[in-house]
Amino acid sequence: MNPRKLLVDPLAALFRNELAGLPPLLLDETEIDVQVVAPLAVITIARRFTNTSAQLIEAVLTLPPLAPGEILYRLIVRIGGVAYHAMARPAGRARRAHDAAIADGRRAILYELLAHDIPMLSIAGIEAGAQVEISTWSIRPLARPDPGRATLQIRLSAASEAAIFSLPDADAPITTPKRHAASLTVSAEGKQVTISGQPYPDRVMAGSEAVGVECSTPIFLTVIPLEGGTLDHAEWHVDKPGGWEVTSERGVETFRHPANPDGSVASDRTDWIFGAVPTVAGCIRVTAPLPTDGTLPNAGGLLEIAPNARGMRAFAAAGFVETATPQDAAAVRLAAGILDRRTSLAFIGPLGELPDEIPMLHKLALAEMEAIDFGNMAEEPIDPDPFRDIPPPARPLDLPPPQATPTVTGPVQSLGHWLTWAPILLIIGALGASFMAINLPFLPLISIFTALMLINARRFLPPRGAPVRARLPLLAFLALPWVASLIFGPIIPQLLTGDMPDIADWMIPLQYGLLAAAVILPCALIAIVPGARRFALVLGLLNLVLAFFLVSASIITLSPGS
């Protein structure tokens, strides 16, 4: 056949509509708010869409990679007007909990950072027709192409990047040529902001003015200081609790303290963070006290370190990579709610809130990226992870002494080991003592064992506000076997009267039954307290041990020589 006569496109079949599978959901509206706090920008983006399908769905949205130095630190999802606040959790645990929650039919939200720092959001449990709003807050440094000018590029769509295509199909971003309404507002006190890169000529943004933007092209903002203004920022608040100190001006000494106005600090406090970052322009140093005293836990039970967390975010966003801190990086990420490869933002709803059906996964489409000449602007994130677990750079000579930065993880880990092994040793000792194999006092051993197990249980107590807390009173049933063994056994009457009580036929079978109940009850109760299983397991073991000793004592009393 002559190839010139081949008039049919051989790939046409691949683009047939019926091959598209489940059509993606489309965004209805995007609102971007930029607050310029030079040298940083706080960016709030609200994306809205509607579940146009007739069933319960899981919406999956993959976003463009985070910009260099960008830190995403808050996510609120509103479904049908109800706001769901996502909390920071270790990434692996958050993903497992999310998948389990979807299988259980709960509402579940997970915002995680995939390979190449691509953020991906999964919202499961969106009812048919429900309107959804996704609000994210992030902070990032402004680019400084020259000392008198700062720039900011915001990408709302995904480009054809090889990194994105290496993702599994479920995680890969998808785009649509369909357009939706999008607007931008910028507030920048003492600065002039110009928007460019849009289908209209460059224009100067007026304060609180909302301008329409095209999501398929990056938004490019140029910031210049007005008369007498600056693009740098310096704050000094170390003279009050929760204070912090920072400056973006390179090469300027900022390591001050009320007691050390000359700039050298010698402190033996362990609740301060000290940091120093060598830059091409010189060493930048920061110091801030961690205000844990008097701070109440937030809704998720986490102890907030705000307002210091704001300082940490500011440091990280400005390129002040964390260096020396008494908190480990993971703890700071969790407390400050920062999205990271090791920290995801998640929400798990209660059981029974949604209809009993499997949510159908729908991808949420971004606007298709237009081919644009980006000139020499960096498109790829270089290394946006602000809290890497890297060894700190060499300490400058006038940094605080090493004893000011003890780690928290070591003692906590060794305490955990101790709390696990000590009860086991105690119970072996108590067994030996009860059968007189070892000459040890039984009652002190069992009392210490009980106290340690209660401390152990407290370690696994779910955070305040967790839905499972409402079910924890049910665990009181765990004590029933040994309490019943005491009440219906011979020990108490013998202790009170000094004589052996009348022995009924049912007493010995009852004692064995109570021992069996002490085994079965924890198994049954653990199943109904998901999220507090380790807590229930520890209490179950404690009560089983108590039941074992009391039942054994009762049976030996009832049937001497048995």
């Binding site: 079949a13 691949l14 683009f15 047939r16 091959l19 598209a20 599978g21 489940l22 899981e58 999956v60 998948d99 979807i102 299988a103 039919g105 999964s122 599994p168 199909d169 479920a170 995680d171 009993d356 059906e357 499997i358 159908m360 996964l361 729908h362 991808k363």
Partner: protein
């Protein structure tokens, strides 16, 4: 294969839970039996996931996989220049006596490509 729970399916196929949910929603894998509470999966689900993974690893985009799975002609898999294996989609990832089938295929290819005529002594 006996009935599998979702976690078993994830473990058996080595695929992420989200990817499985995606494949079900896109129709590449059938939904579970038993509804949400008693969701059960079988060998058919395992085979469907493996088939999709194999075809993706061969470079077929999802739309092409949909087209190939719906076609009657089988899926063409190039082996070398001038030689293409056409395989029934249902066989991909289904397991079975793969070694015996491969030996038969090798024998057939040797028979067809050998310089000596079939009736001549080798």
């Amino acid at each position: 294969m006996t009935s599998l729970k979702f976690d078993d399916l994830v473990r058996t196929t080595g695929t992420t839970p989200r990817q499985i949910r995606y494949l079900i929603s896109q129709g590449f894998v059938p939904p579970p039996t038993g509804g949400r509470t008693y969701a059960a999966y079988s060998g058919a689900h395992v085979a469907a996931i493996r088939r999709y993974d194999r075809l993706r690893s061969l470079g077929f985009p999802p739309a092409a996989i949909r087209l190939l799975l719906g076609a009657r002609e089988g899926i063409p898999v190039p082996i070398v220049a001038g030689l293409t294996l056409v395989i029934d989609p249902d066989l991909i990832g289904s397991g079975g006596d793969v070694a015996a089938v491969a030996a038969l295929g090798a024998q057939k290819i040797e028979q067809l490509l050998s310089e000596a005529a079939p009736d001549e002594p080798a």
